[in-house]
Symmetry: C2
Subunit: 1003 residues, 2 copies
């Protein structure tokens, strides 16, 4: 289509000239074909050519439904208009006139005929709805003469002038782009003069005067008289629709959403029918089923003696459509029939617009109805039962993400509406569900409050692993900082805990124990309510409605069908028996990820974990020396004892935890990942220690001793002079340093030091804190995500691997004795080189051999690895030599493949990237097919090339995202593993992927 | 070779039983062929079968050189011995006896014949030399009778008993595994009794008595009499050689180095010749050329009337070999002839062992000589000139890494030897070269000291970007912490600055301004000397020898040949004109990486950079609003002005810098990478600010006001109450926050606050510090490596991209006006998604268009990208649409592909990984072929598929590593870019890769 543009399409200026303008003849586009289709000539499939509205009207006409006659000017005409430099393409105007003549013939009315005037509406309609497009103009064709004719015909002067003043204002505002206030202000002034409360209190005379005033305004604003020639009105309106296609808003919107500019918009011209012609007239909107509940009954609103505009504008309160049954029983019967017919025709619930003119029903629009999640599920299931849909179709009619809404507690909408004055702020809807409870600003106090029986909302500026025990005690989490993948958001989602994150407008003051939102202050202990589905935060209590999965009968049916269709298994990520039970109830076929370290974070265990960590390095070295036949010093022996005792305690706790998981998942696989995070995550905050140490030093210094030495200097040389000297004399420098590390004991890690006390107390506190500071300093990392974690940890401190191996196998043996079938699968995190896995396996199998030797009984387990490091994916063929299964950790894999730390990226640039379309989507939410997906595909293929029966799954957050699940299906993974609440979502998404896949193959 | 092992080879127990032992008949291996080769039957190519020594003796024999007759028992015999459960394979002993009989015939002597005894040496020899293998046993065949025969024959009683006591001790120690002290102690006791200073002061009688005493000791230790039967001696010695192959040390060594265990060791049996038979006898070792300088002249040591052992043991001081010319001119002439012949025969410098028995010369060993770097280069070049080697061969004879040694200052070895008592510590040899200067512990003071004309060694616990100006002022850098890729090491290498890193035994005390090493204290300002090639640190000054590239004539010749052979170009990474000049002098064909941010770190620029950073976010937002037609507040306008002024200042400075680079590289390409590191690297340390703020708060609190509020709380709500109130009233909350950020001004970032002063001073200091703390807090990242850096920075703050673009093009235009040819190539870092590059290009090209429009002149430049993010490599086909060149940033690519932060990994686990062979090699030193290399190869192929003439290089540290360079050649890169000092290394390595490649193809 080579066309010459006379004017750049990117610089729209609205031409007011007639088509018959003189001057240089514009280059005319070739005519490609028909530019106008009457409604009988079109159908629903011509959406691209006729727009959504035009196609719907055509389809209804052909289905024999009562649609006012009309025609649609195609999107190609719009393109031709632009190609011709905003001139109507050759012949189009003649064609429009010819079609108007046909309409006149069909209706027996005349366009501009004062005796029996034909009025039309002009509607824009593109293939997609889009902001900035022109609204509908009603009553086009009115002028002084035809309004008089209407009054004569209807015998209703007020109706006539009302239509007339509305048309002038609408045309002025919509077509001629004059701001609405220009018409509203005279109306309001008039009402004030007349002391009229509503528009309906104005007389016919008032309205006639208003129409005259409006024409004056139009003439002033445009410098031209208001067009009274109906054909002139029509031409200007059609051009205005075309021009709106390249209006700034619509243009920017398409640029932004990468919608092609040459789609164009269509223009539908429809014969006006009037719902405001008396008691036997009316207008309404209706759904073929209840869009809130899905109930099979017509649902909608209806106004007698009114035009469509009135329903929308809320000038009169519409009645329920059931009232129509009483008022116009015959018409209602006809409407019911049409609704049924349209639903079966489109095989979906329809959203309808209609008008009744003097007892005659006209359909003005039909489209698929938006619906709530429960309605979507119920409708899909019932339509199968009614024989309208196949199961495959029904499965495709529900958005997987909607299902989450069905399973979470939600606020009572009515109560929420009433609580508007208690609205505090809106944050990120980080984890769905509603919760109400006492605002508690500290995790320890949250535990206490829960113990006291209070419902808790944990409120933190942001959360860290130190807060997890507080989150476990809470019903919901609220943070002032952090994005959708902040610690709070991720952990809350994994717990199925409602979370509103990054509510930046809140001021959370830990010292004063209060939260401020503008002028409102919420003190700790006050009730608040958070809606993790919407991000809203309210002061006070809001009643919640609990969802119960087992009550969702239709959902169960739908998911049952989904299970029949899908090939991808759905597993869940769960760390605790209660999560595992929930996951299983939701249909999980296994646990794909148990993060053992989450158990470490629990408050009663943390001191033991810290003891273990602080002794680990020296104990490991000492044991190594002992194995090589070396002698250990007393201090070394003590360290080893401390370390072993802490490990034994953790083993006991973990054994119980694992036994609980195995019981919950009796007969289903449980993938247990060995410890993953950097150890310093379990230690107190470096910054807080630094402040404590500085403060203690200052306190001592103010007594006239000890220079104002920065603790950073102390960290620098790593020796505290007081201790160092004595120890060095006995042990030598190197061992003295180690010995000092050992001095740290349980409890030193926790409490803030008292800055009060006598000199000796202060000195002892300083010594303790300084030691701890050094220990934490030694473990700090510049980029902890890429540091000492994952399998690296297990390789450096093999005793942790051995301890966890023992806990897993002991737990399995224990529950087997109870008649439970445990299926443990041990997973090694962060493997990048095959030797890491091989060496971990050697350590682990050595321990297994010892267990078997000791107990005489064998326990079956699978051995596998996470694939979450790019190098792991690239060398999957080698890694599969040692792994019986792969599980893609797509969170880390995304981080490393993109080089994004999500903690930093989302706050700093990632969301802006998505806004600016530098990235199509946040890759932490939807798996990046092109990059990360390439590695997933390649690793799966290479892994299976080595080991044909390699089981491959995904356990990153993407495992619960429908788009990502479709990709997993496509690549041929065995399972996705997601948080328990997303298991039903994943079941449906997996089925949809399977259906889409088989449709693809059938093509 | 299916063999049945009767005993596990892994549990060695030395069998002392005779071969004719009774009992169950061991499984005998099949004989695969000859198990013994006489010297004439072997040659140099049979190293695997005969070992290095056996092959050398055979080769020399066949070359007609005088070699004492003998034979070699093969490595296959050794394997058969093990396969048979440590039994000599069938027939071997008979074969040995037969060969001994042949020797007797050839020499006319008898083994065990008292009248004319044949003595032999027994030597082990595997294909590779390896620790734990048995040493040579000399004089085997001696006993009471034969020693008497020797004395008769030589007429030298002392010689006879000396040989005898030596043999008993040597046999006891080496063959029977008795510790050396058992023989040394009686000798020392005897010498004391005799008041003898040296062994030579002992009489024949003394030595005879000693030999008897030694036999007694052997008998006591082994429970068996000393074997006096020569054949028994021989058998036990041969078995001992075989047994040593599976000794623990040798076994572990092979395990560790993955050397196959079935290589086995050979045993050579050589007729003894005696250099200790009088003045016409002697022994020596010599090189065919000087191994230190490469000079073509025989170089070595020689002892008249001595056995080889004496030379090694240092009992007498040997003479220079030139003395032999005087003493035994005829023999010397023969030796010269042989040396020449061997050198030509082996086509390499030889390391020779010889003995002269009564005027007759015998060659005992020949092997390729180890040599220093200068010698290696000179020898290679001269051997080409002499027609011995081809140029290709000469190029392959020099280790590329050796070349670095030629180009760096080094300590005078003699001076170093004398300074042994001043040795302080040894650290990591992080960047080669030697330097001496005043120890300065602070970068600012380093700058001052340099300004005062003092040579500086910067001594830090570890370095950060804040120290770079101090490094620039220093001659060398010493740190107590950090590995081979710590900041200090990397930056020092890039500057060609000697660096010793991670000298953990040093205590660096910033407060006391001193460095302690054990008992020694070095005060700031004292001279110290560091050797970055060896890692040694000395107190005081050591004289250095400066290397001058232009003086290295032979090197220039060799590299000239290298340039003819190589296809890979060699570019250099250089940030400053002086580095560029050096690189060009070293042969660099372009600048492959100019890190523009290094210019930002210079001390006089840092305040400007900080001003720019602190205003950047708000200024960018404000400008965006202004572009959208919005109004700016006064504060916004001020921020924009501050920001623009700082940028303008930086533009002026960078323009000068770039102009300097272009001049230095006139006519050669200069790749300029736009700003890369996270901005907070330019701001003061968060921890130091935290300490300052805490201290100020405490100081104020002790006046009775202001609770002991942790600054972390302040950071928490980000508002300093005093300031916030007033500002909020005027601006509203959001703008108030922004305004406060603006209050920071130059200088606030630097000095430690005075904790002294009146209340007002303290309060103002606290306010300032707190603001800065919040600013730094806001920019801190959890994983800065994966945060807001690289192109992300430029996309968030496009003005930086525009400023740098202007600086580059203005500089290019300026030097073009001077007649210089600038070839700028603009490189975008950290691209992971094609849109990042496309959008940066759009911003950049917009600016270029403005420049062209403004100045009317066009400047040619290339536009390209780093490939350093795995996703960038994976989607290289898309990225090449916008990039004219790729440069692999293999440092970051290695970090992200492995998931290692090198700052953390090297200290925490990576070095242990390499030690434990979990990784074959440190991937930051040698490019990981299997993982990272896979991405390099794939990105190169995909990039070139899109753009055929895509120029591809590498600018990570691997660009200077020979093994990695070979890979780059193989993949078909266009160039490697490395630090200037490694350019010559890379030229040679690239040539070697090309030669290896074409040899591969020829096969």
């Amino acid at each position: 289509m080579a066309r010459t543009a006379r004017k750049s399409a990117a610089t729209p200026t609205r031409s007011r000239r007639s088509t018959t303008t003189s001057g240089a003849a514009p280059a005319r586009p070739e005519r490609n074909g028909k530019l106008i289709y009457t409604f009988p000539e079109g159908n629903a499939g011509m959406r691209r050519l006729l727009g959504g509205k035009g196609a719907g009207l055509a389809e209804m006409t052909n289905a024999g439904l009562p649609v006012p006659p009309g025609f649609t000017i195609t999107t190609e005409a719009c393109n031709a208009y632009y190609a011709a430099g905003r001139e109507l393409p050759e012949g189009l105007w003649d064609d429009i006139r010819a079609h108007m003549a046909d309409l006149e013939r069909e209706t027996g009315k005349g366009f501009g005929d004062a005796d029996n005037p034909l009025l039309v509406s002009v509607r824009s309609g593109a293939a997609f709805s889009m902001p900035g497009m022109m609204d509908t103009v009603l009553n086009l064709g009115l002028n002084h003469e035809t309004v008089a004719g209407i009054i004569r015909l209807t015998g209703n002067e007020r109706f006539g002038y009302d239509a007339w003043r509305r048309f002038v204002a609408m045309f002025g505002r919509i077509v001629l782009d004059i701001e609405a206030a220009a018409f509203d202000e005279p109306l309001e002034a008039l009402k004030e003069r007349r002391r009229a409360k509503a528009d309906t209190d104005l007389t016919a005379k008032d309205l006639q005067g208003l129409a005259d005033q409006y024409q004056q305004i139009v003439s002033e604003r445009t410098g031209q008289p208001f067009p009274t020639d109906p054909y002139r009105q029509l031409e200007v309106a059609v051009r205005a629709v075309f021009d709106s296609w390249f209006g700034k808003r619509a243009h920017d919107y398409r640029e932004f959403n990468k919608i092609p500019h040459d789609l164009g918009t269509a223009v539908s011209v429809v014969t006006m029918v009037f719902g405001n012609m008396g008691a036997d007239s009316g207008t309404g909107v209706a759904f073929t089923r209840d869009p809130n509940t899905g109930e099979k009954a017509i649902f909608g609103e209806y106004l007698t003696n009114a035009q469509g505009e009135d329903v929308v504008a809320g000038i009169r309160t519409p009645a329920k459509i059931s009232q129509m049954r009483n008022e116009l029983p015959e018409v209602y019967g006809q409407f019911e029939e049409i609704a049924e017919k349209l639903e079966r025709h489109y095989r979906d619930v329809q959203d309808l617009e209609f008008t009744i003119e003097r007892g005659k029903l006209f359909m003005l629009q039909t489209r698929s109805a938006k619906r709530t999640a429960p309605a979507a599920v119920r409708i899909a299931v019932e339509m199968v039962n009614e024989g309208i849909l196949s199961r495959e179709e029904a499965l495709q009619r529900v958005e997987p993400a909607q299902i989450v809404q069905l399973l979470l507690p939600r606020f009572d909408e009515a109560a929420k509406a009433k609580a508007k004055d208690r609205f505090l702020a809106k944050g990120l809807n980080a984890s769905p569900g509603a919760a109400t409870g006492k605002a508690i600003l500290d995790p320890d106090r949250a535990v206490e409050a829960k113990a006291a029986g209070d419902p808790v909302i944990l409120v933190r500026i942001e959360t860290s692993p130190d807060d997890v025990h507080g989150m476990l005690a809470a019903r919901g989490v609220l943070t002032a900082r952090g994005g959708a993948t902040s610690h709070a958001a991720v952990v809350a989602r994994s717990m199925g805990l409602p979370c509103v994150a990054g509510a930046e407008s809140l001021r959370i003051d830990y010292a004063k124990r209060q939260v401020r939102a503008g002028d409102v202050t919420v003190a700790e202990g006050d009730m608040i309510s958070i809606d993790g589905t919407t991000g809203e935060i309210y002061a006070g209590e809001l009643p919640t409605i609990e969802a119960r999965f087992e009550d969702e009968r239709e959902l169960a049916v739908l998911l049952g069908w989904a299970d029949e269709k899908r090939s991808l298994q759905v597993w869940a990520n769960a760390d605790y028996p209660r999560d595992a039970e929930r996951a299983r109830a939701f249909g999980a076929q296994g646990i794909g990820l148990c993060r053992t370290e989450h158990m470490f974070f629990e408050e009663d265990r943390l001191p033991t974990v810290q003891r273990m960590i602080l002794a680990s390095t020296r104990a490991t070295e000492a044991k190594h020396r002992r194995e090589a036949g070396g002698e250990l010093s007393t201090e070394d022996r003590e360290t080893v004892e401390t370390f072993d005792a802490a490990l034994a305690e953790l083993e006991r706790l973990q054994t119980d935890d694992f036994a609980g998981l195995f019981r919950a998942m009796d007969g289903l696989p449980v993938v247990i990942r060995l410890i993953d995070p950097p150890l310093h995550e379990f230690l107190p905050s470096y910054e807080e220690l630094l402040v404590d140490v500085t403060r203690l030093q200052d306190r001592l210094a103010s007594d006239g001793d000890n220079g104002a030495r920065s603790p950073l200097d102390a960290v620098g040389d790593r020796v505290t002079p007081a201790l160092a000297k004595g120890l060095q004399r006995v042990l030598g420098r190197k061992d003295a340093e180690r010995a000092m590390k050992l001095l740290r004991r349980e409890g030193k890690a926790s409490a803030t030091p008292s800055v009060q006390g006598d000199r000796a107390t202060l000195e002892s506190a300083l010594a303790e804190k300084t030691e701890l500071l050094h220990a934490v300093e030694a473990m700090r990392e510049q980029n902890p995500m890429l540091g000492m974690r994952g399998c690296r940890l297990g390789l450096m401190i093999p005793d942790i691997v051995k301890m966890q191996t023992r806990a897993i196998l002991t737990a399995a043996a224990r529950v087997a004795g109870e008649g439970v079938t445990p299926l443990p699968e041990i997973m090694i995190p962060l493997v990048g080189h095959v030797n890491e896995l091989a060496e971990t396996r050697r350590i682990l199998e050595g321990e297994v051999a010892r267990i078997v030797e000791g107990s005489g009984q064998t326990v079956a387990y699978k051995f596998g690895t996470m694939i979450e490091v790019p190098r792991g994916a690239l060398t999957a063929d080698q890694i599969a030599e040692h792994a019986e299964f792969f599980s893609f950790g797509t969170n880390d894999l995304t981080q490393m493949t993109f080089g994004y730390s999500r903690d930093d990226a989302e706050g700093k640039f990632l969301l802006q990237y998505v806004d600016r379309k530098i990235l199509p989507v946040n890759p932490f939410q939807v798996l990046d097919r092109e990059g990360v997906g390439q590695l997933v595909r390649l690793a799966t293929e290479r892994g299976r090339a080595t080991r044909k029966d390699l089981k491959v799954g995904i356990c990153g957050e993407h495992g619960g995202d429908p788009v990502s699940i479709a990709f997993c299906h496509e690549v041929g993974l065995n399972y996705v593993s997601c948080s328990p609440f997303r298991v039903p979502v994943a079941r449906l998404a997996a089925a949809q992927a399977a259906i889409a896949g088989s449709e693809q193959r059938d093509k």
